[in-house]
Symmetry: C2
Subunit: 219 residues, 2 copies
């Protein structure tokens, strides 16, 4: 089966890991079969959305019987490339980077942080989980030796672009960026941003609208 990377909307690709995560919990709970309705309620999307999303990848489940949890999970994991473990580097070990380096939830879900890096000499040698902090200057060597294609960036905004440039020059094609700045990359490199403040601001939008409505009702 050849899937053109452009055929599937990115919004669907972003939901697939959520389906996989929820199916993993169901499997752990010993649940063997789940309807699109039940899965949708757990995830907060409609049953129709789930059926439509999965239809991009073939036929799963039977009307009235639901999905076999293990089978669907296995299939989504293959679609996502998670039949193999992905080695990843982490750059930046401030408080957030240290929390990331120590978080066990990456390994259990197929993401193996094999190196952590910082440019602060006082942090070099620090033990974080399974890793010892290495200097940024070792990045190119490690990236090439281990054929690393994914990286997590947790440096301050002012350093993010230079770090991303080094990563991309040495073969990284997917970057999870915690720095609160949009980094520039070539077209063949994927970047996902995590900005908790921006997400909070997208909620203050709605909450302040409600205030307006309340205020209007009161007058």
């Amino acid at each position: 089966m050849d899937i053109s990377p452009n055929a599937i909307p990115d919004v669907v690709v972003r939901r697939l890991p959520i389906y996989a995560r929820s199916l993993s919990y169901l499997a752990e709970e010993g649940v063997r079969s789940v309807s699109s309705q039940e899965l949708g309620e757990r995830i907060g999307v409609t049953a129709a959305q789930i059926r439509k999303d999965l239809s991009y990848f073939g036929e799963f489940g039977k009307q009235g019987i639901g999905y076999n949890v293990e089978y669907l999970l296995g299939h989504i994991r293959r679609i996502l490339g998670l039949h193999e473990v992905w080695p990843v580097v982490l750059v930046g070990v401030g408080p957030l980077g240290q929390a990331i380096a120590r978080y066990e939830g990456f390994r259990t879900r197929g993401i193996d942080i094999i190196g952590v890096f910082d440019n602060d000499s006082s942090k070099i040698g620090l033990q974080l989980g399974r890793n010892t902090v290495q200097p940024d200057s070792d990045l190119p060597k490690i990236l090439q030796e281990h054929n690393i294609r994914l990286a997590i960036v947790a440096v301050p905004a002012v350093r993010a672009q230079e770090v991303v440039d080094v990563l991309v020059q040495n073969g990284v094609q997917g970057i999870l960026n915690y720095a609160p700045i949009v980094v520039q990359t070539p077209d063949n490199v994927w970047v996902r941003h995590i900005d908790p403040v921006a997400l909070l601001h997208s909620m203050t939008y709605y909450l302040s609208r409600e205030d307006e409505h309340h205020a209007m009702n009161e007058h």
Copy 2:
């Protein structure tokens, strides 16, 4: 001006904080005027997208002159409700919660963490940034006293739903959830999820597709 909360697509609402963030940087750099083209290149969206997004909120900028940075920033901040500071509680001070509590980037962008909570008695009294860790049992009192409407949840997945229930019962209407589980809330409560592993998986999807194509080319 009455803006119905349902009139603006959520995807647009989620981009507004990114525009604000980028405009803040421009203002700090002393830039007074920016074209939709320049702003788009910084953010990674098209100029047309920016013009369309902003058109929901009125007329900004003039053809050929561009946007006044301070004016547009001020306007977007008001749209997002950021003319006031938002008091927020944080629940869960494992390594990630501690990093969140210590991060200065919330306060500088209008989000004031006024209380941090954990159910682990060994953490009570711990000083994190400006806050001292309090027991979860104090949550209802603090939420009500300070009229808190926004919360950050950084507890393990197994505890997330119970914590969210307490938050919602005590008036919280917006939740930033770091626990890798979809929490259930009433329709009038907004939830944004941060799951770094899911974001990485949405990139392994594309990278493993590339492998397939390479493999096909080689044969």
